[in-house]
């Protein structure tokens, strides 16, 4: 299975100014690639799109009926935060479980 890895730039061949020097992580745990199938980024993008769409739909609905207090209160102020949580609960964790290096 293809393993996703954060892309690393090579830096400019201009000595210290090109690469700005190199750094190493002080903790021994390596920069771990996330073993994830190609679909996870689509899942993530879709999740973000759903969250943003919910937000703008909620605000649009509220502003299209500006005097409807009950609608604003129940659907947007109480409903949207709950729907974000449900979205994360049902769809949220997209990374696979990976044990830590140290117990």
């Amino acid at each position: 299975m293809a393993r996703w890895q954060a892309p690393r730039s090579r830096g400019l061949p201009l000595g210290a100014w090109g690469r700005f020097g190199a750094t190493k992580a002080p903790v021994k745990k390596p920069v771990a690639p996330i073993p994830s199938a190609a679909f996870t980024w689509r899942t993530r993008a879709l999740g973000v799109s759903v969250a943003l769409s919910l937000t703008f739909a909620g605000l649009w609905l509220a502003w299209s009926r500006p005097q409807d207090t009950a609608l604003h209160f129940w659907l947007v102020v109480q409903g949207l935060p709950l729907s974000y949580w449900l979205l994360l609960l049902l769809w949220g964790p997209t990374s696979p479980e990976e044990p830590a290096d140290e117990p």
Binding site: A51, S64, Y84, W85, T94
Partner: protein, 668 residues
Amino acid sequence: MSPKAWRWRVVLLTLLVITVLTLVMWMADAMGASRTLINAFFLVASIAGYALIGMVCRTSNYPDYFVAGRRIPAPFNGMATAADWMSAASFIGLTGLLLSEGLLGNGEHAGGMVYVVGWTGGFCLLAFLFAGRLNASGAITLPQFLSQRFDSPAVRVTAALGAILCSSVYLVAQIYGVGLVASMLSGLTFELGVFMALGGILMCSFLGGMRAVTWTQVVQSVVIVVAMLTLAVAVSWKTQGHPLVTLAAAQSMQSLQARVQVIENDPAEHATREAMRMRIEILEQKIADPAHARDLERQRIAQQIRHALEHELPLREVQRLEATPAWREPELGRLVQLWEQEREQLRTALGRPVGFQSPQVGGFESVGWRNSIALVLCLILGTAALPHILVRSYTAASPRQAERSVVWALFFIVLVYLTASSLAVLLKNVVLSDLVGASLQNLPEWAQRLRLRKLALLELNDHNQDGLVQFADISLLSDYLMLGVTEIVKLSPVFTGLLAAGALAAALSTADGLLITIANAFAQDMYFLRKTDETPPLKQVMLSKILLMVVALLAAWVATNRPVSILFWVTSAFSLAAATFFPSLLLGLYWSGMRAWGAMAAMWVGAGVSAYYIGINFPAIQTAFHLNPSETLWWGLDPVCAGVFGVPAGFLAAFLGSGLQRLLQSRL
């Protein structure tokens, strides 16, 4: 005890301690203990408890100090994230904000709804986009992750500066909030309140770093949730006779809307508003020709003082006349400033909705709609990019655990927010039915108490001089109104103590997280930039601890100068975080073409544009440079929406910077 069981026992123990303390204080109240004593007990007991956890969790072990050993399970990491995130502004301020500004705002500025939506929606972006991948990086700070990604210490220094900027703005507001809560509820002076809280913060973060902060925050999250739920249940019981808060809000909503209609159609309310409009016109004439207006007013006051002395009126009357700004203020510029302030206060009061909706909300073409959309974007992107929240991704045991911890965090945050918004409905109902229409000579007892506080939570101005309170006469200090809930609903002082403990936990937990982020940015990302391998870990931890103390003292000193508004600074911090980190993080994680130059340009340009917009619209800077507020606002957007300009500028800079670096790479 199994290795896992003790964690849940910490939570259960916290619940038990809260219950026992509350019962003890209840008995003390029944035996006649004063309100101040009960509040002080809750504050001191909380700080002592957090300090104790700090001491138990003390460590100088490198991974424990910086990332709590990277082994915090999702539920506890989520609780710590929730406490880290729920600041004084959201715990104390949200109810008051919804109550006084309404849901959609006044047609010019955004209302409370935007804050609830933005502050919770951002967690979806955090979980989907960043949490798992940051955890997998194995870094200990956000700047370190960016420098690993781009193989560049310059990126690390830039990111560290950005983290210090965003977190400092936020930290000062939190310490200010802690000082206010401590001084208002325990009778201490503001400065002493700040330094007492500082002691609590330092005992946690100084001794045990991230490990102590994490476990303190777990306990603080329990305190916050319990305090908010208990208070809301008590208010619900008192007002509607049952403990179901949301149901009580639904019942109150019906009577509230009926009461709002009566008030909005009341001729006395119209007369008050007309009197306020006339006062605004007079103030505008004075501001247009201040020297002439001052002379005329001084002549009038001199006449009145002569009259008072001749007729031997009480000395208080003479003192009242002499206290008039036009009489006592020698500088014309200062006098104009006072008139302008009064005009703004009157305008704000006129725009404030009676219920939860202002009649001036307007449609999609109004400035209010633009401000709402801009602010919700800033809050969502800012929540996903705040350095002290992102650093919580590193303390989880695995990428999946980091993402799960965001789900847990949002659960606790949503619980508090839904309760806070229901509480706003219940309180508004009480204010409208008890206070509006009351005689100024015979106010409800709670109104008198709130007026007479050292920091008055309620002001009443009888604009139409009819001796009755109209809605437009009421001015509530919305930021801290929550602290007066127990008086408004006539609850036992024990609830004030619980509320104080919750507010303190909210402010301290956020301050702890921010402090450790700033100190680590200084120590790890700037001082030990190139020397992490050759410097012994113990030395790195010790320097971080020293810097932590220096930063805490500096922040406390700035906070004692009393910044203007907690909500303004907190919201500005979100805008700054969104503009500084969101473009570079998103492109850094998901675009292979992103380069170091692009990352640095994104951070500098994003932060620069946002800071510039907040700066040129800041009242002190406008006065110093003689700027006109109507000319410095872009499309009428409020300064706290600065991120809406900073984020696109950051993305553009990232594309240009990366393109330039790739071009040079290919040429050379």
